[in-house]
């Protein structure tokens, strides 16, 4: 096997395009993913047409004045605002693609907020020629309008709560430059209770009803504080993980990138090098007493697994420059990569044994690899239970799913089930048998 390994390494070394791809591919992929994970998405350019006059930016609530314009920053923070002067200019910028969307804030927005007779409305213009872009714009604007709504609601609730407190507890109140002293329900109750004993029995009974009303009103308005506070954020979300680990999306993305790269490099190498033996007509000569077919399969598995292990380790080192990977877990990286590479390599030789030339083997490997990666990433609940069961059964036949679990353990410390290791080991054995049978059938 040693001489065959040396032979294959020599052939690889003399295939500059292939070696170049094997070296450049992991570097390029790790750089792309690294940049994507370490830098947040750029803010989309959005044209802003603010038709509200500067003098009308405030709404008055009794003695309080709220500057609505300060809440528009909630919208501006998430986008790259491009001021425009007219609706026509906004439309032109959206059509030309200079901006992703245009946000039009109408002149009557503050008066509508002030009166509350009809809802205040902002208008969004966007180009829907690209469905992905359209969905992105809708989601971004919607989320930011919700944030602005929430901030404004909290401000209005704050003013309302101050007034409620004034009615219940009393205090000073400024209106049109004048200061008024508000007695408040509590103090009214105290005063009435103080004079009640000096009144006649009939008057005292009537005043008693007023005292009781002041007490009940004070108590209930105090409770309204909580109700109004809840109104500004009626539903809060609290999450509990009941299944799976707590791997952040960025770390899981690294595991996916490594798994995909490992899959492609290993499958293509294993299937290609075995198919090459037949393409060069050497298979019959080799297996005519010089090398046992099982030894030839083992050699291809070792070659593909070692090469892809080296390539993906290089990728991980590259990614570690961008995302926080623990180098202390490197032995786990190697263990997970080696086991997964062996499973993919066994699958690769099975594919290589079914084909007679390198191009057919590569095409077959590529055509199978893409769907299995896609299927392994379909989350439960995203499709019907029956279909998900079928997908799970199909996934069990391929190494991508368990590879992802093993890499999540190696990279992110997610729990590793013994079943995952057994699954990968079983796939190595099963695909080796398939490869051996295919060689006997098609060799």
């Amino acid at each position: 096997m040693r001489w065959l390994l040396l032979k294959d390494l020599t052939i690889l070394r003399r295939s500059p395009l292939l070696v170049g791809l094997l070296v450049i591919y992991p570097i390029a992929i790790s750089c792309l993913i690294g940049f994507a994970l370490s830098r947040g998405p750029d803010k989309p350019a959005v044209a802003i047409l603010n038709e509200v006059p500067a003098s009308s930016n405030e709404i008055a609530l009794g003695s309080e004045r709220i500057d609505v314009s300060q809440y528009s920053t909630e919208l501006y923070d998430a986008v790259d605002p491009v001021p425009v002067e007219s609706r026509a200019e906004a439309e032109e910028k959206v059509r030309s693609g200079a901006v992703l969307a245009a946000l039009i804030i109408p002149a009557d927005i503050t008066s509508k907020l002030q009166t509350g007779l009809s809802p205040a409305t902002v208008e969004v213009l966007y180009n829907a020629e690209d469905p992905v872009k359209a969905a992105f714009v809708q989601d971004t604007i919607k989320a930011q309008v919700q944030d602005a709504n929430l901030a404004l609601t909290q401000a209005l609730t704050g003013v309302a709560l101050d007034y409620l407190d004034l009615i219940v507890s009393g205090g000073e109140f400024d209106l049109i430059g004048q200061t008024f002293d508000v007695l408040g329900l509590e103090r009214s109750q105290e005063i009435l209770e103080a004079i009640s004993p000096r009144l006649s029995a009939a008057d005292s009974a009537e005043v008693g009803e007023v005292i009781e009303f002041a007490g009940v009103a004070g108590d209930n308005l105090a409770l309204a504080d909580n109700a109004l506070s809840s109104l500004s954020a009626p539903i809060r979300v609290e999450t509990t993980v009941v299944e799976g680990g707590r791997t952040p999306l960025s770390s899981f993305a690294v595991a996916i990138a490594i798994a995909v790269s490992l899959m492609f490099v290993t499958l293509l190498l294993a299937s290609g090098t075995l198919a090459l033996e037949r393409e060069e007509n050497a298979y019959a000569r080799l297996t005519r007493g010089l090398v046992a077919p099982s030894a030839l399969l083992t050699e291809k598995v070792v070659l593909a697994a070692v090469c892809s292990l080296a390539v993906t380790l290089l990728m991980l080192v590259g990614l570690a420059l961008f995302v926080g990977l623990e180098f202390g877990r490197a032995p786990m990286w190697i263990a997970a990569l080696a086991l997964a590479a062996a499973a993919f390599a066994a699958m690769g030789v099975a594919l290589g044994a079914l084909t007679r030339d390198v191009r057919a083997a590569s095409l077959l490997a590529f055509m199978i690899a893409l769907p299995i990666a896609f299927l392994a990433l379909v989350p439960s609940g995203a499709v019907s239970p029956g279909l998900f069961g079928a997908i799970t059964a199909v996934n069990a036949l391929f190494p991508f799913g368990p590879t992802l679990d093993a890499l999540d353990w190696a990279l992110n410390g997610a729990p590793l089930a013994l079943l995952t290791v057994a699954h990968l080991a079983a796939l190595v054995a099963a695909y080796s048998v398939v490869g051996r049978v295919a060689l006997r059938r098609f060799g």
Binding site: W3, I11, S15, N281, R285, L290
Partner: protein, 240 residues
């Protein structure tokens, strides 16, 4: 018809070889023998079973019936299409197969084969850059690495130009002169006529003639224009 061979002792004997591919017989009771230094041509129409016979003699396929005896010696086999690694040099190909053959004297045997194949000056050239004739010589040299007493060649000169063919046959005839039995399948009847001591004619999976080229010509009455005409006439007489 049984090929008894012309000289003894033999280095290769096969008896009653039968091979079926599904319902079709590829070989039906074919027997063959070859002596040291003998040159045996296997000829016949397409689908007659020539390649199947050589594959069974080489041990690549197993017969459904019959047996092959080589006295425990390895048989050299040269497939129709060169079984070489194009990205390796001539010397590297020879070295690899010499190691896989378990030779202890790898470098010496490689030098000897380069010398025999007259490819010493091309030793460091990648095989992919060689002409068809030179590639076939490397192909044959690899078949000789184990120093077999019998060399089996399947259409050795197919796809070679006349000059390359002539140089190749010089190489093969020199091997036979050194005592190697050469059994070759060919479509080129002039190669059978010029280079074989004996020809075996296969038709519809059966061995229908075994003898010298002159004996084949006599079998159809002689006096025909050439060996090819005699061969076609012979097959015609048998209804093929």
């Amino acid at each position: 018809m049984i090929d008894e061979g012309r000289s003894r002792p033999t280095v290769l004997e096969a008896h009653g070889l039968v091979k079926w591919f599904g319902p079709r017989a590829a070989l039906d009771g074919v027997s063959i023998a070859a002596a040291p230094g003998e040159r045996v041509a296997v000829i016949g129409p397409n689908g007659a079973g020539k390649t199947t016979l050589l594959s069974i003699l080489a041990g690549i396929q197993r017969p459904d019936a019959g047996n092959v005896e080589t006295g425990g010696q390895r048989v050299g086999w040269v497939p129709q299409q060169a079984a070489l690694y194009g990205k390796l040099t001539v010397a590297e190909n020879l070295r690899l197969f010499a190691r896989l053959e378990g030779r202890d004297d790898v470098e010496q045997v490689v030098e000897r084969m380069l010398d025999q194949a007259a490819l010493g000056d091309r030793r460091d050239d990648p095989v992919a850059e060689l002409s068809g004739g030179n590639r076939q010589r490397v192909n044959i040299a690899i078949g000789l690495l184990a120093e077999p007493r019998v060399l089996l060649l399947d259409e050795p000169s197919a796809s070679l130009d006349p000059r390359q063919r002539e140089r190749l046959w010089e190489f093969i005839l020199a091997l036979a002169e050194r005592g190697t039995a050469v059994v070759y399948a060919t479509h080129d009847l002039s190669e059978a006529d010029r280079h074989a001591n004996r020809v075996l004619v296969l038709a519809d999976a059966e061995l229908v003639f075994a003898g010298t080229p002159a004996e084949l010509e006599q079998a159809v009455g002689g006096g025909l224009r050439d060996f090819e005409t005699s061969f076609v006439s012979f097959l015609g007489q048998l209804g093929h």
